[in-house]
């Protein structure tokens, strides 16, 4: 069952609530799915609609909504600045769902910039008990990651085809340099941060992780091939924050190098579905009291 909810101070924000089918026992954790970039709440390739409907059949109410100025939501509805207004919109969404007795605890799911906004939201409101971050737009490097990068370049350079091209004059140095510079300036490419150069940002993110762990917030990080240049091995995030206690117990990392950034293949979409459902079921169905919500109440549904 789906309903439109207009929320926020002037009801200028728009979302679609997908509730578990009647007869399904609903969990007391609802899932919030946020925008990726400026793509509206359906998600690219309708990824968010699919995920919301699947999670609802598993007992998780899902709310997909547009941040201010994106999709069908009005700009300037809440907060100032992109990060603050997006967090404010998420808080407004939770207020609305709490007031309607849909849920009191929430998990935020976001891809790309949505992953970062999920993290910000999780840091900002104690009602958020979990966050799924898919291909975040920035990652911290580690020593092993930097070694991996060098080894990758060396391996490329050692390929016989590379030497053959060089010897036969078919390797175009200018094109190679241009490709690298284009990649570096691609606005969609994730940003590689260095803990020593970007010290303040690293300290802030470390403190944020520590705070989330103290609040027992569960985290799922999903990495596709879009982010392999900035996240090159399974344990990179644990190594990036060596002094954050219990990070491994709190944050699960899942890598899918075959998937592209928008999960354009069905096999990759099925993987994403299974990862999120499996992760949620592993804790949200266990430590939450399941309550039968026959239809639930619909907050100001249009």
């Amino acid at each position: 069952m789906e309903s439109v909810i207009e929320f926020g101070p002037s009801r200028g924000l728009v979302g679609v609530l997908t509730q578990p089918p009647s007869g399904t026992s609903a969990h007391d954790v609802a899932v919030l799915i946020v925008n990726s970039g400026i793509i509206h709440r359906d998600g690219i390739n309708r990824l968010h609609v699919r995920l919301a409907r699947l999670l609802a059949t598993r007992g998780y109410p899902c709310f997909r909504y547009d941040f201010p100025g994106i999709g069908d939501s009005e700009g300037g509805e809440v907060g100032e600045g992109i990060a603050q207004s997006n967090v404010a919109a998420t808080i407004a969404a939770m207020h609305t769902l709490c007031a309607s007795n849909i849920a009191e605890r929430f998990v935020v799911v976001g891809l790309c910039s949505g992953a970062i906004h999920s993290f910000y939201a999780a840091c900002s409101d104690p009602r958020i008990v979990g966050a799924v971050m898919i291909d975040p737009t920035a990652m911290f490097s580690t020593f092993r990651h930097r070694v991996n990068r060098v080894l990758k370049l060396v391996r490329r350079g050692l390929r016989p085809v590379a030497w053959w091209r060089l010897v036969t004059g078919r390797y175009r140095v200018v094109d190679g340099v241009r490709n690298i510079s284009t990649r570096m300036t691609d606005p969609g490419a994730p940003t590689q941060l260095d803990p020593s150069r970007d010290r303040n940002a690293w300290i802030a993110s470390r403190n944020a992780f520590q705070s989330l762990i103290e609040r027992q917030v569960r985290l799922l990080l999903i990495i596709t091939r879009h982010n392999v240049d900035v996240y090159s091995y399974q344990r990179q995030i644990y190594d990036a924050y060596p002094d954050v206690e219990k990070l491994e117990a709190t944050l699960r990392v899942s890598r899918r190098p075959s998937a592209d950034h928008t999960f354009s293949q069905e096999a990759d979409r099925l993987f994403l579905d299974a990862e999120i459902v499996g992760w949620l079921d592993s804790w949200a169905s266990g430590d939450s009291a399941q309550t039968a919500r026959p239809g639930g109440s619909t907050p100001d549904a249009a």
Partner: protein, 248 residues
Amino acid sequence: VSSFFFGNSAQPLFGCHHAPGSVDSGAVVICSSFGSEYSYAHRALRVLAKRLAERGRHALRFDYSGQGDSWGENTEANVERWISDTTVAIEELRAISGHAVVDVVGLRLGALVGTACAKAADVGRLVLWDPVLDGREWVHQLAPGFSVKSLDRMAGPCEFANRVVSPALVRTFLDIRPDSYRDPGVESVLVLQSLSAGGLPTHRLHALGPMDHRVVDDALPWREDSSIWGGLVPSRALSVIVEWLGRE
């Protein structure tokens, strides 16, 4: 602006109604395209609806079955149903606005859908914005690696344009040609052609029958602009549509 579900309550369609201000001079239903073209053009069509409302028109944007927020999975999407959805949307806007005459703006595939329902739904005027005229070429644009030859061997759903759809849907797309737009049975038609879309050969335009033809040099809203990972808003193209529909 109000957002709501409408139509059959078991298979609801999502719509956004942009109400006019103090002047109320007409009603327009906006039909979008398919797949990534739908996603990227969402912003431009929202701005179009807003500008139409500012000029005194009720504007209704909606999602076809199996697209956007509307009922249905991708595999259930089919053009016949979308034509029927558009008729339902026109009726909905008639009920909301009180206007018996409703105009239709169709972008890309939406132009075909709008044309197909125009006569039966008694549409006033029709705007065909960069209509898809060559289905084979369009299928190739949507899914560059897709093997059309393999369609005949497919019994079940297939992967096409980053989603799983029925082979019948792709076959319908392949059959789109200029004749598909013949005789829409409306009082006037505007064909809006974006220069950067590649241009429409003149003989293809003649197949559409009497019409106004405008060419604009503007961005293509249904294509991804890599600087923003989304579609741009083509302000000149929107102005042409708003002005044309604003004529008495």
